[in-house]
Symmetry: C2
Subunit: 354 residues, 2 copies
Amino acid sequence: MKDRPTVEDVARTAGVAVGTVSRVINGNASVTPAIREKVQRAIEDIGYVPNAAAQSMRRRATRTVGVVVHDIMIPALAAFVKTVQRTCQDAGYMLLLANTGGEIENELRILKSFARRQADGLIVTTGTESNAKLEGVLAALGIPTVLFERDRPERFDRVIADHAGGIRAAARHLLQLGHRRIALITGSPEITPGRVRIEGLREAYAEAGVPADEAVIRIGDFSSTHGFEQASFLLASSQPPSAIIAGGLEILPGVVRAIKRKGIAIPDELSLVGTSDTPLSELYDPSIAVIRWDFAEVGRVAAELLLSRIQGRATNGPRRVLIPTEFVARASCAPPSERPRSSRAAHHGMASGA
Amino acid sequence: MKDRPTVEDVARTAGVAVGTVSRVINGNASVTPAIREKVQRAIEDIGYVPNAAAQSMRRRATRTVGVVVHDIMIPALAAFVKTVQRTCQDAGYMLLLANTGGEIENELRILKSFARRQADGLIVTTGTESNAKLEGVLAALGIPTVLFERDRPERFDRVIADHAGGIRAAARHLLQLGHRRIALITGSPEITPGRVRIEGLREAYAEAGVPADEAVIRIGDFSSTHGFEQASFLLASSQPPSAIIAGGLEILPGVVRAIKRKGIAIPDELSLVGTSDTPLSELYDPSIAVIRWDFAEVGRVAAELLLSRIQGRATNGPRRVLIPTEFVARASCAPPSERPRSSRAAHHGMASGA
DNA sequence: TTGTACGCGTTATCAA
DNA sequence: TTGATAACGCGTACAA
């Protein structure tokens, strides 16, 4: 950082006082057109650029928004961040970005670091919804915060996709096709998206008057690895499901990997539903049915909620926005085959059979 | 931003002078252990957090790095940003992130905004390598800058993946399989990755003593749309290539879409090579050969180059780091079929035939 | 080793 | 409308 010109330099060049320069820059107070022009020319001439740090100190606001996600590499989160950034930029705010990798300690460190940097607002997907310390830190920051895909702490604004509705629609479709053993691989029920997905599945079963098969609801985390392991387990079991719903953004790649390894045919031997529409789900052969929603919209809404708080446009209680989801039926879903594929399972050994 | 406690508050509570508090915080100067502890307790008690804006002003450094990419949704760029962020965080720096969407105007605006915010360093993928205005702005900022996937302006440090080498390896493989008409779909040759890919292909032809078929080198931009359009065009032509190399991060999805639509069999009727390993390339059936490199490494190197400049560890001339690429042969590549698939083309009409 | 005081660049208040 | 000046919160040179 070399010595940039300051308001004082501008003032000297323009032959006015620093206060006047400031007034020209911020354009609010009244300045004689002639003087204004003189100042503006001086600014151009010496290449003056306001120092944001000094402005922040005086204004007690940084025009900065901190965004915390677990993994920017997940397409849905990347899309989210992208729209948040765009919306914030349009409002004159910059984005501070950090990945937590899902580690709670890292998350705490990042939140504190955002506080130190005086971020005017925060958009956060916490790693858990039941950590007192995290909740305490979040509250103590005293910074307007919007939760993304999290429903607690309830004192904050939050925006969540309607995963329950999505799973309901997917399960309805599968039940109508004749499936009675629909596996759901998802993350922890202690986090909203995991919990409501399970609820959605149960509701669909109840609606159809079919008893839910809880044994094929496989919870863990939202990783591709979990998807792979659970799908492998399910497909090797003595009573494999006739359909699998990958209930998490990264679950599908893992499930597909397991399916390929076992050499199972979709949809003949197994129906498959993913979460979030990606090149994989669209272009896979057969194309894979998905539960999807408008990633960009989620980001826009989250940013708007936050900006309205920061700018004092919203002062009422916490708001909760549910983003609609849509089930897209595709070739990966078909009626279950008459005969279970036990003969094929024998090919790969029956180690995990009952 | 409510009234946070300041060094003065800490000093009063601890019964020392503000200077002492500052010394404790920064831990460099010598402070009596007893006093240090007293201050630290006071900090804990009143929940003091340093004000980064004030610190920046004094230190004349913000501990902030600005990152500019065209689209964070592209997996390779997301991975890049992720590692850059992690590396910077470990060094005590935060990330300011912005998407340009490839628009040069937007890019200029963002760069100026980073300058105003006094970013200590910049990592940038410019939208073009031949824009005088952009080049001027970049130079005028006077901020340490690392170029990512760009080779100009040469005055900056830069880190680039060895796309030429990747294409050479891929083309060699295809030539050995017997292909003589290898299409390359890529972006503008005015941007390094586009230019060197074309060069790499020509080199491979030269090596093999086979005349290059320039007609099937299709340049444009690096978008999925371009991939789709060019693949559609090539596959509908009277002399279609027997292999396609998707020379850009987002080209492959578009090419696959075109191939699926035409109902062309891979690798029987067409061999295919992608750029960057994604779930699509790995899990597609057949799995798709790719040119790949260590995304994380690229980010780490770029961040290290930048940090070494910022911290004054590097003062010599601009450095250029070439990240090795690797060609991963997969089922999508096979010897070309004996008979051209003209009969099949008839199915879809021969509108664009010669 | 510790305390004091100035200045970083800006905005806002108060007189003129 | 314009100018002078006092903060904003912190780091550091200098004095003690």
